[in-house]
């Protein structure tokens, strides 16, 4: 802006000087003719006219000139495009597809990979802690946290939190909320400022301090109508009075992105920790400026050694120190998916760009003659260039507009398809930066390819009329096409691998009969089911009712269902076998366990390979019983027969009951769909209140029970019946009903999403590449029509003509495929960890990709080749 002003100002000064020179010359002339200087000046002014307006008009020439040129170029461009509608439509469509897909995916990926976290100087925030097989997320334990906090050197601040829990706002209109428990300096370490009130004080973070709370912005808005006097107000949380001291900003989020409506001090009893209590802390820290995570890890060695010394010797080798950026902590494995998507989308953009380039090049060839004529008529090189660029930019502009619209639609589709657990996807929207990205892309492609005709010197000379082979340009188009074809093969291969992954995950053997199974899950809230007896009563009643449903004979109850779900883990190393010394030498890895009733194995169809399943008599018994999986039996009893043995599963520090192993169950897929089977044991869920006092306490709080029914035919059909039976016992009890197949499908949701997106891109790529191929071959045919006519006139057969035309095409396809296969083998390694049940160099997938491209290529080539063999030599040659 300043530049322009300067520019126009200095131009105006120049014009003034030029006119003054003229005026002075006039005065001099008048003096020579005998006037006095005074007269001469007056006469000169009179004959010159208004100096100011002359200067104004002269300067105006510039603005007017640019406007005229622009208007003219625009008119030419629009007229040219109207005359060649197919070219215009193909270019705009190609750009729109490329830009639409790119911006939509970029919008999703941008939030995962590039977005800054809503914390001050978020690049210096890290998650710190130790990891162990049972806790793959970094954590700190008991007193060692306080030691770290006091003695650490690499951080400006180290703080912690204790996760989230369900909590109830028990007022006139109760609401189920998520409460997060944090240390007093947690939000100041994150660098988050409050919009109302104040932060926690250290004395409020003590075990018996009166309860105070920070509200999330959402809760403040929805529940307290954003009133200012909420600060100081007392609310009732889980029946206790809590004083509100502040409101968090709208952008606030927990490092894990978990929902949090209320922040409470974690109020950990520090002296108790020093006496040996083991509170689990999740720790975040702010690096000192200039320190990176690697240096921080080194600086934390003394603290880590201290933590190791607290760990039982046999587990030490499995405990690791971890310091990683908060961003890495948040997005985990979403990162690789994001890069794969970004790669795919750039590949599509590349293909689209190549298509537009090809189209513009073809158009340039067509217009060579026109330009040569206009040049010989005196059009300047700059004017021709600016006209071509205007045309290219008009196409780009339309492409951006169409692409933006398409991007909005695609983003909506992605968000609706996306599985849970892709961070930030709900917040993804096409923002200004992404628009800028799209416009930039279109401008670059427009400028680059719009000026393509000027790359070759031929257009600059009138010679071109005679010599219009344009062979350099043809070669450029062929190279572009080979690149397109090879990138398409890569995309097809990648999409194929992910599709097979999704299929493998869903169709693998689970170790049980998954069809015709219906699950109904209930959550016992602490408010309505405060005692174990009440819970047990509810379960027994519902179980009885469900058994009565016609066609359903047996009903199992469990607190989780494989292959996913909320299981419990225990370190194998702590489990003792009667008559054996306590083992040492590592944790021994993890064993999963769940509560089950006797019919669990028969309902799920899990074979009991030794011993027997639990019996109803055992369910009433006062003794404790266990069934172990084959892999756990092999692990714990290598060779011995475990049935009848008694084990101590180390449920507390001392006075543990002995559990009698009554049987061995076949292995079941129990760690999600992807991981290998893990050892497992089953605890009998007896009809004793003591068994209904524990259980999984997740974010929802309270206990979970799942009823599992084997249904006669279609499992879904029974859902309403089950719902009404549960309601008959307690009509306020919410119940989640799902077939086991649905559960499995949900677990494979993420790979399906990835596969769906990549398939979309691969399809797009195939279509674009086919259009590109069609364009090149059609162009060859139109260029060589005369030659073809002559050949036909001289007696060439259809096959010879077809071979002549398709020879180039086949060469390009072969080259593209070869490059594509090499590329596919290279890139598929990078996302090996996303694959399941299929290797990155799967021959079948790569053959499939090649076949798909061959098919599309054949169709794309067939049309122009058909036109070539149908050339009528009489008609063509008559026009020569």
């Amino acid at each position: 802006m300043k530049m322009r002003k300067l520019f126009t100002r200095s131009r105006r000064i120049e014009v003034d000087e030029e006119l003054r020179f003229h005026l002075d010359a006039l005065v001099e002339q008048n003096i020579k003719r005998g006037m006095t200087p005074e007269q001469a000046r007056r006469a000169a002014r009179a004959s010159f006219g208004n100096v100011e307006s002359a200067a104004e008009r002269t300067s105006d020439q510039y603005r007017g000139w640019w406007m005229d040129v622009l208007r003219q170029d625009m008119r030419y461009a629009l007229r040219g495009l109207r005359r060649n509608l197919l070219f215009a439509a193909a270019s705009v469509l190609t750009l729109a597809l490329g830009i639409g897909a790119t911006t939509a995916v970029f919008s999703v990926v941008d939030r995962i990979l590039f977005r800054s976290l809503p914390y001050a100087h978020d690049e210096r925030l890290v998650s710190v802690g130790i990891t162990a097989p049972i806790m793959p997320q970094e954590f700190m334990l008991g007193s060692s946290y306080y030691f770290w906090k006091q003695s650490q050197t690499p951080f400006e601040a180290l703080s912690s939190w204790s996760g989230t829990n369900g909590c109830e706002l028990s007022e006139a209109n109760p609401a189920h909320l998520a409460c997060a428990y944090v240390e007093a300096d947690f939000i100041s370490t994150l660098g988050v400022g409050l919009i109302r009130g104040r932060n926690f004080r250290r004395d409020e973070d003590l075990p018996n301090a009166p309860l105070v709370a920070l509200l999330s912005y959402g809760l403040w808005r929805n529940r307290f109508s954003m009133s200012d006097d909420v600060v100081g107000k007392t609310i009732s949380l889980d029946g206790s009075p809590v004083r509100v001291i502040g409101v968090l900003p709208p952008t606030f989020e927990l490092p894990t992105l978990d929902r949090a409506d209320i922040l409470l001090p974690q109020r950990v009893d520090e002296p108790a920790q020093h006496r040996g209590a083991t509170h689990i802390f999740y720790s975040i820290a702010r690096l000192k400026p200039g320190i990176n995570t690697v240096q921080a890890m080194q600086a934390l060695q003394p603290q880590f050694q201290e933590a190791l010394s607290e760990t039982p010797a046999r587990f030490r080798s499995e405990v690791k120190l971890r310091v990683r950026s908060l961003r890495d902590y948040q997005v985990h494995d979403a990162r690789l998916t994001a890069w794969v998507l970004l790669g795919a989308v750039f590949a599509v953009l590349l293909i689209a760009g190549a298509n537009v380039a090809g189209l513009l090049l073809a158009r340039a060839s067509e217009r060579e003659a026109e330009f040569a004529v206009r040049k010989s008529l005196g059009a300047s090189r700059g004017r021709l260039l600016s006209q071509m660029l205007t045309e290219a930019l008009v196409i780009s502009g339309l492409g951006v507009l169409a692409g933006w619209t398409l991007g909005l639609v695609l983003l909506r589709v992605f968000v609706s398809l996306a599985p849970r657990g892709i961070p930030y996807i709900e917040q993804a929207h096409l923002d200004i930066r992404v628009l800028g990205f799209a416009v930039l892309l279109a401008l670059i492609s427009g400028l680059l390819f719009g000026s393509a005709p000027f790359w070759s010197q031929s257009i600059l000379s009138a010679q071109v009329i005679r010599n219009s082979s344009g062979s350099g340009r043809a070669r450029a188009r062929q190279t572009l096409l080979i690149v397109q074809l090879s990138v398409t093969v890569m995309l097809l291969a990648a999409a194929g691998l992910l599709l097979r992954t999704a299929r493998n995950m869903q169709s693998q053997s689970l170790g049980m009969r998954a069809d015709q199974l219906l699950t109904a899950t209930v959550h016992f809230s602490r408010a309505s089911y405060p005692t174990p007896t009440r819970r047990l009563q509810f379960v027994t009643q519902v179980e009885e009712r469900l058994k009565q449903i016609p066609g359903v004979n047996t009903v199992a109850v469990s607190d989780s269902v494989p292959p996913g779900g909320l299981e419990h883990d225990r370190i194998i190393g702590v489990i003792g076998v009667e008559g054996r010394p306590v083992p040492d030498g590592g944790t021994g890895g993890n064993v999963r366990w769940r509560w089950v009733t006797p019919s669990y194995f028969s309902v799920l169809g899990i074979p009991i390979v030794r011993g027997s399943a639990f019996t109803d008599a055992e369910r009433q018994s006062n003794d404790h019983f266990l069934i172990v999986s084959e892999s756990f039996a092999a692990r714990l009893f290598a060779g011995e027969d475990p049935v009848g043995k008694r084990v101590d599963i180390h449920e507390g520090p001392n006075d543990n009951p002995w559990y009698t192993i009554v049987g061995i169950a076949a292995n079941v897929k129990n760690g999600g769909l992807v991981t290998e089977n893990e050892p497992e044991y089953y605890k009998l869920w007896r009809n004793h209140p003591e068994d209904w006092n524990t259980g999984f306490t997740g974010a929802e709080g309270g206990m979970v029970a799942t009823f599992i029914l084997r249904t006669p035919a279609n499992a879904e059909a029974l859902a309403p019946v089950v719902r009404s039976e549960v309601a008959a016992v307690d009509n306020a009890m919410p119940v989640d009903i799902e077939t086991l197949r649905e559960r499995i499908r949900n677990l494979a949701e993420r790979p399906r999403f990835e596969a769906a997106l990549l398939s979309l891109f691969a399809t797009l790529a195939v279509v674009l590449a086919a259009i590109g191929l069609y364009g090149v071959i059609a162009f060859i045919v139109s260029r060589r029509t005369q030659e073809i006519a002559v050949r036909i006139a001289l007696g060439a057969g259809k096959q010879e003509i077809a071979a002549l035309i398709s020879r180039d095409g086949i060469r390009m396809i072969a080259a593209g495929m070869l490059l594509g296969v090499v590329g596919a083998l290279g890139i598929s390694r990078t996302f090996r960890s996303l694959l399941f049940g299929v290797g990155p160099t799967d021959v079948l997938t790569i053959l499939g990709a090649m076949l798909a491209l061959l098919l599309a290529s054949a169709i794309a080539m067939w049309l122009p080749v058909r036109r070539a063999i149908r050339v009528d030599p009489m008609r063509v040659l008559r026009y020569e």
Binding site: E14, V15, E17, E18, L19, F21, H22, D24, A25, L26, E28, F48, G49, N50, S53, A54, A55, R57, T58, D60, Q61, Y62, W65, L377, G378, S380, G382
Partner: protein, 106 residues
Amino acid sequence: MGDLLQGTLDLLILKTLALEAMHGWGIAQRIQQLSADALQVGQGSLYPALHRLELDGLISSEWAASENNRRAKYYSITPLGRKRLKSEMTEWKKTAQAIALVLQEG
């Protein structure tokens, strides 16, 4: 004579500059002289025309010292300008002949 038609003034400027490079004052003088004072070029149209021709790439300009040692802007014709002059002159002659023919007929 009154205002010249835009195209005509361009033609006269190009013709004048085809002989030698000149500043605006000189161009105006030359046209006046050659036309035996029949054509008077107004400064209000001369300078806009010069600047437009320069933008079109038909003439170019440069600042240099004048006869009496003052800074003046000198214009000279470009190859593109010569080409244009040639075609415009042919066009002009054709038109002039055609008009002459029509007028003689009466």
